[in-house]
Structure formats: structure tokens, C-alpha cells
């Protein structure tokens, strides 16, 4: 038995039970293939970092299960053919990953308020084209040995990935007081239109890297 996890991003424009209907179908494939579902985590609608098939948002779900590898092909096939699936990614969770996840969950219980998951964002939706070319993700090249095989089947739209500069990418790890201030990013953040409506401003204490972005935002 191996432990897997699949992240599914569904098109957001459907009724609540529409999501359910699709996900139940995928879960049935897993169960029919002899898998037992360990966890089904519905994140809800979340904004995408770049438009996919002209959508700016997607309904995120993470399903974890245990099974033999046999059913992966079928699951992948179904996900790939389903028009409503914007993205999917199956990952094999090895023992290190499982241990880490368990630990993270334990911590999460201690501090319940976590992440802005259901935020809605009024980003500009001008993606000219989202094509359906099949493309391999470059993941395998950088695969570290700690994480053995992984199944990453997907359709990669290589339309120019528009992006909203939401949470400021601060360079410095917060625990790091010793890092050179060169780590500061002084590239100019252009295109801030959509970031204004963004609810994801995190004011991290001890951040120097994000000052630039914030100032620019106020000017607007």
C-alpha cells in the first residue's frame, strides 16, 4: 500500500453540489480501485496565481488515500479528460512526507486560525488565450532523493501565465536576523492593479524585503 495525495482544481462556475458531484466521481474511482480515502480536504474557492482557461479562481480540493499504484492511470485519465478540472496533481507521499504532514497538522490544532483560503479577489481577467497543449512539468529534474516517485500528470496551459502579485514575497526567512540586507528586492513591482483588492497582506514583523512593494502600493 502506498500513500498518495491528489490536488484537484475545479472550474469555479458551478453550483455547490456540482463540485461534490465531480469529486464523488473521482473518489469512487479510488475506492473501486481498492483504495481507502484517508482525508478529503475541501479548500473552497481560491484565486489562482495565473489564469487557467480564462478562470481567475478555482475550487481547490486535496484528497489523500492509500492504495496500490494500479488505479493511478485510470484516475489520471479521468481527471485529464474532465473539462471541469483545471489542474490536477498526484503526489506519492513517502514516509518522510507523511511524518512532516502529521507534525504540521498537530501544530495546526494548537493555533487554529490559519491561512486565507477562501478569499475572493477581483483580479483582472484578461487572459487572451489558454490553450490545451499537453506539456510535461519540469518537476522531475529537480526531484530530490528524499521524495521518490511521484506522478505528475497534467495538462499544462502554456499561455502566458498572468499573475497577481498578492502576498509580498519577502526574501528573508523570519528567523534570520543575520542575513545580509542585500536580500532586499528592489525590482519595481509593476501592475499593482489587482493587488489592491487583495486581502492577503501580511504584515510580518521583521521584514525588510517587502517595504518596497508596500510603498508602491500606497502611491497608487
Amino acid at each position: 500500500m502506498r500513500h498518495y495525495e491528489v490536488m484537484i482544481v475545479l472550474a469555479p462556475d458551478q453550483a455547490e453540489d456540482g463540485f461534490n458531484k465531480h469529486l464523488e466521481r473521482f473518489k469512487k474511482i479510488i475506492e473501486d480501485g481498492g483504495g481507502s480515502i484517508v482525508n478529503d480536504d475541501r479548500w473552497g474557492i481560491r484565486s489562482l496565481s495565473y489564469p487557467i482557461k480564462k478562470y481567475d479562481q478555482g475550487f481547490y480540493t486535496v484528497i489523500e488515500w492509500e492504495s496500490t499504484p494500479d488505479l493511478l492511470t485510470e484516475l489520471d485519465h479521468t481527471l485529464r479528460l474532465d473539462e471541469n478540472v483545471l489542474r490536477h496533481m498526484v503526489i506519492h507521499l513517502d514516509s518522510t512526507a507523511l511524518a512532516e504532514l502529521a507534525e504540521m497538522r498537530a501544530k495546526r490544532v494548537e493555533r487554529p486560525s490559519e491561512g486565507q483560503i477562501d478569499r475572493v479577489d477581483g483580479g483582472s481577467g484578461d487572459s487572451d488565450k489558454a490553450d490545451d497543449k499537453v506539456d510535461e512539468t519540469p518537476e522531475s529534474e529537480t526531484e530530490p532523493n528524499a521524495e521518490p516517485d511521484e506522478v505528475k500528470p497534467d495538462v499544462e496551459p502554456e499561455a502566458e501565465p498572468d499573475v497577481e502579485p498578492e502576498a509580498e514575497p519577502d526574501v528573508e526567512p523570519e528567523t534570520d536576523s543575520d542575513v545580509e540586507p542585500e536580500a532586499e528586492l528592489d525590482e519595481e513591482p509593476e501592475a499593482l492593479e489587482s493587488s489592491e483588492s487583495d486581502a492577503s497582506e501580511e504584515a510580518d514583523p521583521g521584514d525588510t524585503g517587502e517595504v518596497d512593494a508596500e510603498e508602491a502600493e500606497e502611491e497608487k
Binding site: 496533481m89 512532516e100 504532514l101 528524499a146 501565465p161 502579485p165 528567523t175 509593476e190
Partner: protein, 72 residues
């Protein structure tokens, strides 16, 4: 010479970096969406490798951007 601070993932004793944790991963992206070199972040080689995979996975499912270039 300055004393090298240990990598933050080493401090947290991480053996795996979750691609779903986009808030943490974002710290290691420039405002253009590029992955920041470990020279600047102080991450050790082992964790930079794990981090890179996590970021690339997150990009694939649109949790993180590939680039911000085409924004306008």
C-alpha cells in the same frame, strides 16, 4: 567574517517541504516570482532542493506564480 546562521528549515527540522504551504513558499520568491538564491536566503543545499520542488509543484497548481511579467 560573519557567523553563518543555520538554515530556517534546519532549525525547524524539516525533512519535507509542503507545496501546499504557499505562504511560506512565497518568502522564497522575488516579487517577480523567481526563486531566490540560497546565497541570499541562507537556506542549506539540502533544503533548497526540497524547497525548489515544493515551489515548482505549487506553481503547477497555480498556488504560486511562474512570473509576473505578463501582468498589466
Amino acid at each position: 567574517m560573519r557567523h553563518q546562521k543555520p538554515c530556517r528549515f534546519c532549525v525547524e527540522k524539516k525533512s519535507w517541504i509542503d507545496y501546499k504551504d504557499d505562504r511560506t513558499l512565497r518568502r522564497f520568491l522575488t516579487d517577480r516570482g523567481k526563486i531566490v538564491s540560497r546565497r541570499q536566503t541562507g537556506v542549506c543545499a539540502k533544503h533548497q532542493r526540497l524547497l525548489t520542488t515544493a515551489i515548482k509543484r505549487a506553481r503547477h497548481v497555480a498556488l504560486l506564480p511562474f512570473t509576473t511579467e505578463s501582468m498589466r
